[in-house]
Amino acid sequence: MKGKRHLYWRKTRRLTFALLLVWISVTFGTTWFARDINQIVIFGFPLGFYMAAQGGLVLFLVIIWWYNRRMKKIDIEFGLEDE
């Protein structure tokens, strides 16, 4: 019992930290190089501007969506789903 709980928490934690890393690289990584990637033009926008104004935000949404999907699976795997 205890071991199974432990595994659930380990899986949750691993997913959380992996996605957190993705988030950090989007939020701080791309932004750090905004000046350099501004040379590239995408949909008429300079890329650095685009990432800060739209691209990054959509990626944030994708991160949360992915997290929810994976967590739902993990919950079911461990019989912890709601209701």
Partner: protein
Amino acid sequence: MLRPLTRLQRYYLYYTGGFLAFIGALAVLEQHGMPPRWIGYAFLMFTIAMYALIGIVSRTSDVSEYYVAGRRVPAFFNGMATGADWMSAASFIGMAGTLYLSGFQGLAYVIGWTGGFVLVALLLAPYLRRCEQYTIPDFLGARYGGNSIRLVAVGAAILASFVYVVAQIYGVGVITSRFVSLQFEIGVFVGLAGILVCSFLGGMRAVTWTQVAQYLILIVAYITPVAILSYNVTGNPIPQLVYGEVLQKVTHLETRLFDSPAEVEVRQLFHERADVYAQKIMQLPQSLNNEREQLSIQINQLKASDAQMRDIVALERQRRELPHDPEQAKVRWEAAMFSALERSRKPIHHAEAFPGDTEAEQNIQRINFLALIFCLTVGTAALPHVLVRYYTTPTVHEARESVFWSLLFILLLYITAPAYAVFAKHEVLSHLAEIPIAKLPGWVTAWTKVGLVSIEDINLDGVLQLAELSLNPDVIVLATPEIAGMPYVISGLVAAGGLAAALSTADGLLLTITSALSHDVYYRIIRPDASTQFRLVISKSLLLVVAVLAATVAAEKPGTILSMVAWAFSIAGSAFFPALVLGIFWERATRKGALAGMVVGVSLSLYYILRVEFDSIPWLGISGFGMDPWFQVQPTAAGLFGVVAGFATIVVVSLMTQPEPGGEEFLTKIRLSNGKDA
């Protein structure tokens, strides 16, 4: 695949339909000559009446309903309510303007205020829902045990929320004074009434359902004008898709205009003016006396000659309005000097990231940009009025889902704001710059009267140069309907949207403050045996007191909205984020560690804001304590230091103190769904 609509969804569908019909009816009435002022009143009355209706229908005397809406708000609606709760007057009115003024640099707000929700989703929301408490101080109290941490948390929650709520009520004052021509102070108290009708009777339950209603209004109001403007300019009504193209045009115009001889001349003139002020400040108090004497001589000359009385009165007033003493003169002239200096600088290109002449300057901009993002994300994930919304969903899974919906609904506005800024800039560069001042479009004159636009023809050529125009950031959203030549009903709609944004946030904040006081301080600490009925009485009376207090402060017009709100982020971020995250993810965090971390974090943030932002506090009689910023970081990002110090302190102190056995049970509960046995 389509599921039948739930009862709630049907209600809100009718409501949205009703609102659109209301706008349509007003548009028709305007065609038939309804004066703008009445349209403003109609919007004000109609929306506040709707909120009041929802507020009264949702009245409750149940404690769980009052604090956490009975924990039965579906994810989708909780997302909408969080959207309204989250998007404040600053987001609705101020942000597009900030983006207009600072171009790329302003995008820090866009990324920061959305990115924070990833932290909420991954690190906080599911765990808060599992612990089944009522407030954020409650959570910390349950995790670490003891009243001291609860009190510190209450203090920090109130500090952050109060600053924020004042900014909201201030925003209501600005909107009502502009659109229904109420006096600012009266507008503030109208706002107060609007806030109380939502929250007083029904607490969180009423606030939730009015916030959903307010979200619908604010998003329609935000997107409509810029969609029409986009259609006018580019032929495509989806501004988010096409403004890249407009941005390119803006860049071309900028390159052409910035170095035109007239612009250079105007900037030079402003620079000279700044120099004159600098000299006058250096020669205080002599320069002030000189000025007064010169005015007196002029007045006497005029009196001796046959001059018009009007001219004499004007000069006398000028003399009366001179600073009374060198101290005041210094403050005023410094402000004038900085404003002239500001205008003398070469403007920045809108799309340029981290603008600066040298590599070092660019790096300062970059560091500040990232520091601000850090503060805003962490602050977002730590503001109690947002976090408490994730207590209200029926299940843990729905808490996670509702963060997704929250971000989606918030995104709609934040993705639109940069488009506002670019379209406004396009308008200014193509239709205002190099135009004779007498022939400027009507909206410029209208907003000059309110004082949000000012024009000074410093080189006296009768033509507007960019440096001669100064725009208050708030004007971008407020004036877009007029810029696009839309009927007044759209302006009224924008006002209603701004009002909804300010009221919904203010409601959430007020509730946070009062539940911190009534639930955490009164019930948990002072009188744990108080009856439910009495607890609600206390809660409601405190709500009234705090609301009136906030309105009174707002009526004094302190600071600018955006910088005040940014302080709240630093305060909340450094107080709560480290203690919450380590409390969930690190078993070893102890009460003493958390307590020390919170105190150190908040104190450092406050210390930094105070010393860098101000040089003196007149009412305490302290002065001359200003300091240079560390690593060139602006005080709006003070939380950077506070949060890092908070984390470090919690880790160090926890390792130095004995581990506490009590936390284990709590951690098991919040880390595993439902408390079911696995």
